[in-house]
Amino acid sequence: MTDPVPDRVRVTSPRQVGTRLARTGASEIDAQTQLGELYMSSLLRSQGRLAVTVLVALVVLVGGLPLLFTWAPSLADVELLGMPLPWVLLGFAVYPVMFGLGWFYVRASERTERDFTDVVER
């Protein structure tokens, strides 16, 4: 067997590098390149982390109440505004807390998306 004669290679100035550098993050995502996947997974990770943060806060602040009532049954005897404390917590206090969590989430997720837009459109 003889080595095949290598094809003649034309050497030119690397003009394409210029266009390659001009590719945006968006086109990397469209082409599903490694870089594009990286953009996507980092977006998903930060949005996912934000979601988990809010959910953990919800579970602790609101979902923890039954446990609190179990461990400290005397809370039922505490009165606030003429009502037993559990009623104040479950009837009124939880709603502004949940709205606050939602407000925090909306702001933070919009910020994440703005950052994502800035990065991939550059």
């Binding site: 968006a26 995502i29 469209d30 599903q32 996947e37 996507m40 977006l43 998903l44 949005q47 996912g48 934000l50 979601a51 809010v54 959910l55 919800l58 609101v62 979902g63 039954p66 446990l67 009532f69 179990t70 049954p73 039922a76 003429g82 009502m83 037993p84 559990p86 009623w87 479950l90 009837g91 009124f92 939880v94 709603y95 502004p96 949940m98 709205f99 969590l101 939602g102 407000w103 989430y105 909306v106 997720s109 919009e110 998306e113 703005r114 994502f116 837009t117 991939v120 459109e121």
Partner: protein, 510 residues
């Protein structure tokens, strides 16, 4: 309460609903108008509409009834129904809108590319919709019966007819307007009487219903007011199971999901959901007030098994004369707004699925939608007339358990986990659906004495939801070759803001 005022109130609400519905007819010309109001509804109007649609007979009548009869633990129903929107906001709101899907079956098919999964999802949507419509019709029958002494079926039929006429006339566009109006009507209807009733209560010395000496329905006030003291053999388990069902079930309700497609984009979907959280929080402060005051002024309702009517009866009982009559008529109007708005939303959702997946093969789209709407209403109306009465809020709570055990894992894993497969999703839906529906059926029939079995079946979500999640994840991991090839592109569609120009593949529905 005199029948005349109550009937007048019901007639006014029905006429207002129909007029708004038919006014919307002028605008609703295309199929897109019918289904999604051509996706042009702003966050504020849309939030009112979602609130109006969501606050059903269970919220308006049922919560007060349960609080009256069973006390503090029942406060978890309204808390859970609000928290469900926070969970929905955080996990699925924007992504669901961006998916471009109109129904849950659309989403399932677009994400996992399986016609069979679509069919199973459609069946589940119809089952959940019908289970949810049933207590609405029962509540209507109960209310009309309370006011006029009419037989239970009359109220259900009235609501069914009004819903059908307005849905047939205008579709989603007019319904958006109707439901926004009905949120504010419901809020007013509960809020105005509360001011007068609290005045009467303070005038009577302001005795707390939580004091030991106030006994109603055989329970002293301090036991009634203490959390984890009543209702089941294992109150901590039951409470947490209810929390799981309501926190996670909201996102799986077909009429809730449909609303998200009327938002212009994902960001608007989030803002709408946040506004809904505020509207729900304001509303849900009110029903427990009726339940608590009912302990003092209408304790006989517990013994006679008519606790669900406390919202309707209390104003007339506490405030004498014409004023009380008018306030009770107002709460009656609010109750009918609740039946009508939730039933309309569910009817549209079920009809959307039935028309797309069954009827549209033979008929033109708008005709198919109308035929499906009739099917969507008539079947649960029949079931409501045949089934025995369970407390309204409780039976709605059970529907949440079914939604949490089926569509919640499908949506959460479909949006956040790339390795979900159609086989895994199908297995999860089958396991979660079978277990929760079996438990719910058992709860309706109610054959078990108090104990673990009764509690596990009476509040099944705490075990059926993890089971459904684990099945979906486990079976998906066993079938890695079934991961759809377009999953990366679909994730781009779900998670990227619309402002970025990207190839997002085809939308789930145009």
């Amino acid at each position: 309460m005199s029948a005349a005022w109550g009937v007048t109130a019901i007639a006014l609400v029905s006429v207002a609903t129909l007029v708004l519905g038919i006014f919307g007819l002028r605008v609703a010309r295309t199929t897109s108008d019918f289904f999604v109001a051509s996706r042009s509804v702003g966050p504020r109007l849309n939030a009112s509409a979602i609130g109006g649609e969501y606050l059903s007979a269970a919220s308006f009548l049922g919560v007060a009834g349960l609080v009256l009869a069973f006390g503090a633990d029942m406060l978890w129903y309204p808390v859970g129904w609000t928290a469900g929107y926070l969970v929905l906001l955080v996990l699925v709101a924007a992504q669901l809108r961006r998916s471009g899907a109109y129904t849950l079956p659309d989403f399932a098919e677009a994400r996992l590319g399986s016609r069979r999964l679509r069919t199973v999802s459609s069946l589940l949507v119809v089952a959940i919709g019908w289970l949810y419509l049933m207590p609405q019709f029962q509540g209507a029958g109960l209310s009309l019966g309370t006011i006029t002494g009419a037989r239970p079926w009359v109220g259900g039929v009235v609501v069914a007819v009004v819903v059908l006429v307005s849905v047939l006339a205008g579709g989603m566009r007019s319904i958006t307007l109707v439901q926004a109006f009905q949120y504010w009507l419901k809020l007013t209807a509960l809020l105005v009487p509360v001011f007068f009733m609290l005045q009467v209560w303070l005038g009577d010395g302001g005795v707390s219903p939580a004091t030991e000496s106030v006994t109603a329905g055989g329970t002293p006030g301090d036991v009634w007011a203490a959390p984890l003291a009543s209702t089941s053999a294992h109150p901590l388990y039951s409470t947490y199971s209810l929390i799981v069902a309501t926190f996670l079930g909201t996102m799986g309700l077909p009429h809730v999901v449909v609303r998200f497609y009327t938002n212009p984009d994902g960001r608007a979907a989030r803002r709408t959901t946040l506004a809904v959280l505020a509207l729900l929080g304001v509303f849900y402060v009110l029903p427990p007030v009726y339940g608590a005051l009912g302990r003092l002024y209408a304790p006989d309702l517990i013994a006679s098994g008519r606790a669900d009517t406390v919202v309707l009866e209390l104003p007339a009982r506490m405030i004498g004369g014409l004023g009380g009559e008018l306030l009770s008529a107002l709460t009656t109007a609010g109750a009918f707004a609740a039946f009508l708005s939730t039933s309309s939303g569910l009817t549209i959702a079920v009809a959307g699925v039935v028309s797309q997946d069954v009827v549209s093969r033979w008929l033109r789209p708008i005709t198919a939608f109308r035929v499906s709407a009739v099917i969507a209403v008539v079947v649960p109306l029949g079931l409501a007339l045949a089934a025995p009465g369970v407390s309204i809020a409780r039976s709605v709570g059970l529907v949440f358990a079914v939604a949490a055990s089926t569509f919640c894992p499908l949506l959460v894993l479909g949006i956040w986990w790339r390795r979900l497969t159609d086989v895994g999703a199908m297995a999860g839906l089958a396991v979660g659906g079978t277990c929760s529906v079996a438990a719910v059926t058992d709860a309706f029939v109610g054959t078990h004495g108090p104990g673990w079995v009764a509690d596990l079946l009476g509040q099944p979500a705490a075990w059926t939801v993890p089971l459904a999640f684990l099945t979906m994840i486990g079976v998906s991991l066993l079938t890695p070759h079934r991961v759809p090839s377009h999953v990366a592109r679909f994730m781009v569609r779900l998670h990227t803001p619309e402002a970025v120009v990207l190839d997002r593949g085809r939308p789930a529905r145009n």
